[in-house]
């Protein structure tokens, strides 16, 4: 690696919403949604050219409100969904909608960053996910391996399955489930499992993690008190179908085997404040990235519970080196779980971290974190 320093990209507004562009397979591209109560919010499309260490950006206007969550369609590069706050009078309502970005931006433009601000374009609304009956939208998830026709959204205590019809211009509620129980139950976060033919969804509400079957919309497992306090985020291991990572306000990151939910498989206690976000690396599932409001991003190497227990932490630049390296590694002992890196460049809390889906030469990728107040946007190269 030629340069360890993060590439920093400043945003004008605060931002919490970050997602890799799932349908993009060549470029390292992220979408960032901003939060501003007073001005028009934006969606930044950020390309990272890892060879030259350069960032290219495009800005789209998102005029309906501040973005709390964003997710890109797995099938169509130009389609994305957002959860946004709509304020009217003294009411704040979180809604969700599916958008299409202008055609020319789909594959990423390479215009110079300087003049990008001059011609901001607007997103084209495809459809609203109508939630008037269900309450505030907490998050929207696309079917991970699907054709971009299915969505699940979490609204207060409802789990809603949507079908997009007529080239995504219409969203039909095809199925739903509601969380029943004492008090006001509210989903905080969810994740659609890429395994089991995409029939499982995990959700978090308060300290509980639940698994759902999307066919029957029934609960399949429930981890009560998964964390001591609120669960903030979940992620599925991309390669091991029963493994699930969760993080929460008790500063812990836990790894679960959903077949045996009595005890976590592993617990990390590296952060000193709420852990907002946890992400597996898509190619090497021993790499787990966490972001916390203690302003740190931690990259952990969880070899012992990965699908590559003998440590295949590819770290080479050249393909030619790999052969030798492979042999070396075969003789190694199984590696210990460890922290690979702690990124402390953030000035404030880190609310979102993501790993790029794209890995070049199996050795590079972007991981990105989004920080609040100072509106820093840091892009780390994964070493």
């Amino acid at each position: 690696m030629e340069d360890d320093a993060p590439v920093i990209y400043g945003l004008e507004f605060q931002a919490r919403a970050l997602t890799p562009q799932t349908a993009e397979t060549d470029a390292i591209r992220f979408l960032v949604g901003t939060q501003s109560l007073k001005y028009d919010n934006q969606i930044h499309i950020i390309d990272f050219d890892d060879e030259n260490n350069i960032i290219n950006k495009n800005v789209l206007l998102h005029q309906v409100g501040e973005i709390w969550q964003i997710s890109a369609s797995p099938a169509d590069k130009g389609v994305l969904a957002t959860c946004y706050n709509r304020t009217s009078d003294s009411k704040v309502m979180t809604c969700a909608a599916v958008w299409r970005m202008p055609k020319e931006l789909e594959s990423g433009s390479h215009e110079s960053p300087d003049d990008s601000s001059s011609n901001t374009q607007t997103l084209e609304l495809l459809c609203h996910l109508d939630n008037t009956a269900h309450g505030n939208m907490a998050c929207v998830m696309w079917e991970p391996m699907g054709d971009g026709k299915k969505l699940i959204s979490l609204a207060d205590n409802h789990l809603l399955l949507w079908d997009l019809q007529e080239s995504s211009s219409k969203a039909v509620l095809s199925n739903s489930a509601a969380l029943e129980g004492k008090g006001q139950l509210k989903f905080t976060s969810g994740r659609w499992s890429p395994h089991h033919n995409c029939t499982q969804v995990a959700t978090a509400n308060d300290t509980t993690i639940r698994g759902w079957d999307t066919r029957s919309m029934r609960q399949i497992y429930c981890i009560e008190n998964a964390h001591g306090q609120l669960v903030r985020d979940l992620d599925f291991n991309p390669n091991k179908q029963y493994y699930l990572a969760s993080c929460g306000d008790d500063c812990k990151v836990k790894f679960w085997d959903t077949r045996n939910i009595n005890e976590p498989v592993k617990t990390l206690e590296e952060h000193s404040h709420w852990v907002w976000n946890v992400r597996y690396n898509h190619s090497h599932d021993q790499l787990v990235l966490t972001g916390s409001s203690d302003s740190r991003v931690i990259l952990s190497n969880m070899v012992s519970i990965s699908s590559e227990p003998f440590g295949h932490l590819v770290d080479d630049d050249e393909l030619s080196d790999q052969e030798d390296h492979h042999q070396e590694e075969k003789t190694k002992e199984p590696l210990q779980d460890s922290i690979i890196a702690t990124y402390e460049e953030h000035e404030d809390s880190v609310y979102a971290v993501e790993c790029s889906l794209v890995y070049r030469n199996q050795c590079r990728g972007g991981l990105r974190s989004c920080s609040y107040q100072v509106v820093q946007f840091m892009l780390y190269k994964n070493r």
Binding site: S36, L37, T87, T207, K252, S272, S293, S295, V374
Partner: protein, 784 residues
Amino acid sequence: MAAAALGAGGGPAGPAEAEAAEPRRRPHGMLKLYYGLPDPAAGEAGRAADAGGPTDINGPRFDPEAFLTKLQKECPLAQLMDCETDMVKQIRALDSDMQTLVYENYNKFISATDTIRTMKNDFKRMEDEMDGLAANMAAITESSARVSSTLRDRHEQIAKLSGVHTLLRKLQFLLELPARLTRCVELEAYGTAVRYHGRARAVLHHYRHLPSFHGIQADCQVIMAGLAQRLRQRFRDGGSGAKDLAECVELLLELEEPAEELCDEFLAHAGARLAAELDTLEAELGPPGGAPTCDILEFTDRGCNSFVGNLCLVIASYQELFVSRAGAAPIAPMARAKLATFVEGLLGRYFGLVERRVQLEKGVGDSSLLVRALDRFHRRLQALEQLLPGAGSASEGTAIVERAARARVAQYLQALRGFYQDCLTDVRQALAAPRLAGKEGPGLAELLATVSASLLGQVKAVLGYVHLFTARDVAFSNKPYFKGEFCSQAVREGLVVGFIRAVCGTAQQFCEAPGDRGGTAPPALLLLLSRLCLDYETSTISYILTLADEQFLVQAEVAGTPGSVLCAEARAAAQRLLTHYVRVQGLAVSQMLRKSVETRDWVGTIEPRTVRAVMKRVVEDTTAIDVQVGLLYEEGVRKAQSSDSSKRTFSVYSSSRQQGRYAPSYTPSAPMDTNLLSNIQKLFSERIDIFSPVEFNKVSVLTGIVKISLKSFLECVRLRTFGRFGLQQVQVDCHYLQLYLWRFVGDEGLVHGLLDEIVASAAHRCLDPVPMEPSVVEVICERG
């Protein structure tokens, strides 16, 4: 003449003596010469002069002519004259000598002649008598021959008769033998019977082809078999004590019973009795799972006295009978081997029982009873070992003692841990006990002191108990194991170090324990344990280790875990506990704040009139925590406080800084400005490290908790959208916190910074950011 001959026959004397006797011998020499005998003295003299040459006057080949010529030629006149006179003198002396001799011999000759004459007469008479005697003897011989020829027949008859007599007596003995044996058997004179039978056995065996003898032999055999049977019976009944038994065995051996069988039987018999004793012992173990019927000392006593004692007796008598008895040499190896297996088997069972009994000894109090019991057991085995070297009984016994000691130490460790757990449970109960109004329960400090003191007391007591194992008056304490390994490994490493580790380990468990899945340890317990571990680090560990090392004389070179390692462990545990305490308390307060922020409608709220109750609660809780921590930890250092810290109001930032930041401005450049402003401000304010490591003092602990709480508050605020009054409420709340929280933390700037941040964030998330007048804020807060 005879004397001279005798003298010559005396043999040649040594040369010195010959010279000394020269003058006296000379006449004898002359005589010898006369009789033609060789004269050794003369020969020597001649050799001295000229070796008996013609000039030697005493030589046999003396030539007067040559002598004279020599004298005339060699000697001067005076010498010649001297020689002449000398010669004349000698000649004269010789003449007189000769005369005397002649006279003497003449007399002797005459008397000899007389004697011979008388002898001649006597002999004649004797010859006659001898003739008479010969005639008489012939007559006697003749008559004797006659007598003997007449007596010969009679003599032969008598000899035959006497032979027959003896034979008959023997036969009679044999014939009477069965009856005699029967009588003996009836009289229980088994010894006599065996002796009789022994005498007759060979004969009977020899003549067994004769029917009558065969009959006798058969009878005898039957009787003897019966006898043997009876002996065996007696042997088997064995009621009559060792001596009787020995006699039985001896007799049986004489009866040529197979020794091996006897050994077996003897051992089997003894074995049965010993096994019965073992059964009794086993019965004393009590029912499985139940309590033993008597204490261990009694048990061991019984075991030693009955079983080991009898075993010793059996071994001794066995050895006497089969091994060391004269004539037992051929069977000794076999017998020895049998004895070895026998003893091994029994001892195996005995050891098994003892071990089981020792294992039952679960008490964790005074171990003197156990030690005494083990000591007795061990001593007794020493005796056995002396009796039967090579049986390995002593070493096995020592091994049992070692195992028992080890098990005991393990039990003590277990007990200590249990005690520690009980202490913790007590503490938890004391902490959980409802407090009576106005009356505080036992304070944390007292609880800590109690726990600490009772733990130390317990450790000391246990060390005392364990020390008994190495007491000087206990026999096994000078075994190498008890001198070395027991002290260093079992006691120091196993017990002391193990306990200290357990203390730290158990304490640490509260950090990771089911923590977030119910059953959380009360924070006060964490705090108390943290202090306990810290105390261990500073003093207790070294004290306990020194105590153990002194009591058990642990050699420095074998000493295992050094105190410093344990201290480090304890410190790490203390650190972890305290960190965990901070985290737990911080998160608890956070939770409260989060709930309060999340559940409120901040957009449509009304104008703030009071501080929200939850803030008061936060301050109360923090104060309580402060008191709690203050009981156990020192104050710690604060940064220099600004003189007006309590008086500091929001005016500082609400007027100067806030104005710039919150001023409603709808120009497009405004957001950049606020961002810029806040960024610049950030550059100047210190970065707040939310979680710097906690130090062991009150201020640091409280700072940590306050930091976590405020940070959580901040995060919650950032998740919400506020109306104008929502922002103003946050302003009021923050001012209130500002008024009360600064006193808890080391660096009040930190609190200010975080609270500023909260208000700034709220303003940022506000739809209509119009801040409240600082004076109003103050009034509201003071009213609350």
